[in-house]
């Protein structure tokens, strides 16, 4: 009853501090690249989903999906904004997937964008704090780094995870970002540099935290049966799953894993008919270094408490046991929140096509993306394969 869905085009606007680019420029940069990649005319597009978390707070601009559609020259098509905090992009992708799978639309563009660097960092901290429970977290001055810091401290207490292991996530992701021209940072780090960076919310230091970024990403979806009309190497979305949980961290079952991730992952593996061992390349939501460690465990790549050691041993570097965050992740590539979930899909497509250049994972057959909103109230997992 539902149709197979493929990604036929992808595009990215460079992530970073883009002082001369506003929302329109960023969206056009990513969107036009995706249309070109899919050999599409603007008139071919039937529907647009646009993910953005806080364009109103960052830029005073709401109604971003219609703006995106207009800027890309789409004529009067339906356009809907999806807001799901930092998982806005992944959630938009899932809505696009559903609309193609259910035979409502054929050609759907999914965009994600965030323009964050026009405000001060304390204003950005406040805006991002809205992803948690405003009344009981942000109201008490409890920031996002603080929520993840408390998860980290508990993870260290229960499993012996160390600050060096957290730092190793950042070092690996910066190393991968060196090979990605779209990444915000092209700067190698050492564990020592991460350890000595400014404390933000202990045990998390500045270099454990993803940055404030500008950026956009776009993908074009089509039913698999017509995908080759547009692109020689369509990438099939073999699973699309999502779960939610309480907004407030303290109300969850425990602080050391993100239950929404495990639930979404379990559904996704079932849909795709694969196991965690089959995943060659994964883009996971490393908004903070501890988040990558929890993701590795919650996605089933490692047993609880084993992920920190694995990162330290280099098991998650490119072309090792499992290649995690080849793009540089949120830490190295940047985290324009609404764009992140869509960017993860772009990286998965490049890896599966064999187009990832210096950061190509040899023989990449199955890719997974994992996008989290807030401190874990939303998790979205997609799995992809080359269409044969």
């Amino acid at each position: 009853m539902s149709r197979d869905v493929a990604i036929i085009g992808v595009g990215l606007a460079k992530f970073g501090e883009r002082w001369n680019a506003g929302l329109k420029e960023l969206m056009a940069e990513a969107g036009l690249q995706a249309l070109e990649d899919a050999n599409l005319k603007s008139d071919d597009v039937e529907m647009l989903y646009g993910g953005t978390m806080a364009s109103g707070r960052f830029m005073g601009q709401e109604h971003v999906a219609a703006l995106m559609s207009d800027q890309l020259g789409f004529k009067n098509i339906p356009a809907v904004r999806i807001e799901n905090a930092c998982a806005s992009g992944g959630s938009a992708l899932r809505q696009g997937y559903i609309s193609v799978a259910s035979d409502i639309h054929d050609i759907v563009v999914v965009g994600g964008v965030e323009k964050m660097t026009d405000v001060t960092s304390s204003e950005a901290t406040t805006a991002l704090g809205g992803a948690g429970d405003q009344e009981w977290e942000l109201f008490q001055g409890i920031t996002f780094p603080a929520l993840y810091a408390m998860m980290a401290k508990r993870h260290m207490y229960e499993y012996g995870t160390t600050e060096e292991q957290l730092a190793a996530v950042s070092v690996k992701n910066h190393e991968n970002a060196m090979k990605n021209k779209y990444a915000q940072f092209h700067k190698r780090l050492t564990i020592d540099e991460v350890m000595k960076s400014k404390m933000v919310s202990d045990p998390l230091k500045l270099l454990d935290c993803s940055p404030i970024s500008d950026g956009a990403a776009a993908v074009v979806l089509a039913p698999l049966e017509i995908a080759r009309k547009y692109n020689d190497t369509p990438i099939k979305i073999v699973a699309s799953a999502q779960a939610s949980d309480t907004l407030r961290l303290a109300e969850r079952d425990n602080l050391t894993s993100i239950k929404a991730t495990s639930i979404a992952a379990e559904k996704a593996y079932k849909q795709a008919g694969v196991t965690p061992k089959d995943i060659n390349v994964a883009e996971v939501h490393d908004c903070f270094t501890i988040a990558e460690i929890m993701a590795m465990e919650d996605l089933g790549f490692y047993k609880k408490g084993e992920a920190g050691k694995a990162v330290m041993n280099g098991e998650t570097a490119i072309n090792s046991k499992i290649s995690i965050n080849t793009s540089g992740g949120l830490k190295g590539c940047g985290h324009p929140v609404g764009a992140t979930g869509v960017k993860q899909a772009v990286e998965a497509v490049w890896q599966l096509r064999g187009d990832a250049g210096e950061r190509q994972v040899n023989g990449a057959e199955v890719a997974l993306t994992h996008n989290v909103g807030g401190s874990g109230a939303t998790a979205v997992v997609h799995i992809y394969k080359r269409a044969n």
Partner: protein
């Protein structure tokens, strides 16, 4: 450009729980909630919520010192916050005043009524429960 709009409304709306540690309990499954919930997480539509006052006693599950605060807490940083497991069951976030005592996971704390922040130079002073080591 970004300010926290009308923190006072958000404070006053929840004044009873914030000032009196008044939460609730679901009589259907005996789960206690602080802050209070409208609907029991376990029972959904079958919830039977009744109000319940909490002792404020609990122990630290995790904590952190915040050095980069949001706008409203500009003048308060650094400050320590934690997740505390209340004796009655629920976990809750709150500030922790160390009062010269070194806190850790497992430290017993008690809630007290303390100043939270001053809204601007001449603005009102906001109060809130905060946890202190016993």
């Amino acid at each position: 450009m970004i300010t926290m709009e009308k923190p006072s409304a958000s404070l006053w709306r929840k004044i009873k729980p914030r000032y009196n540690l008044s939460g609730n309990i679901c009589k259907n499954c005996s789960t206690a909630y602080f802050p209070p919930r409208i609907v029991c997480r376990k029972c959904g539509r079958n919830s039977k919520m009744e109000s319940m006052t909490f002792s404020g006693n609990g122990e630290i599950i995790s904590f952190t010192e915040i050095r980069v605060p949001p706008d409203t807490f500009r003048d308060e940083a650094p400050y320590t916050v934690g997740v505390v497991k209340l004796d009655e069951g629920p976990l809750v976030e709150g500030h922790i005043l160390e009062n010269g005592i070194k806190i850790d996971i497992g430290t017993k704390v008690k809630a007290a009524f303390r100043k939270m922040y001053v809204d601007g130079e001449e603005g009102p002073i906001y109060y809130h429960y905060k946890f202190e080591p016993v």
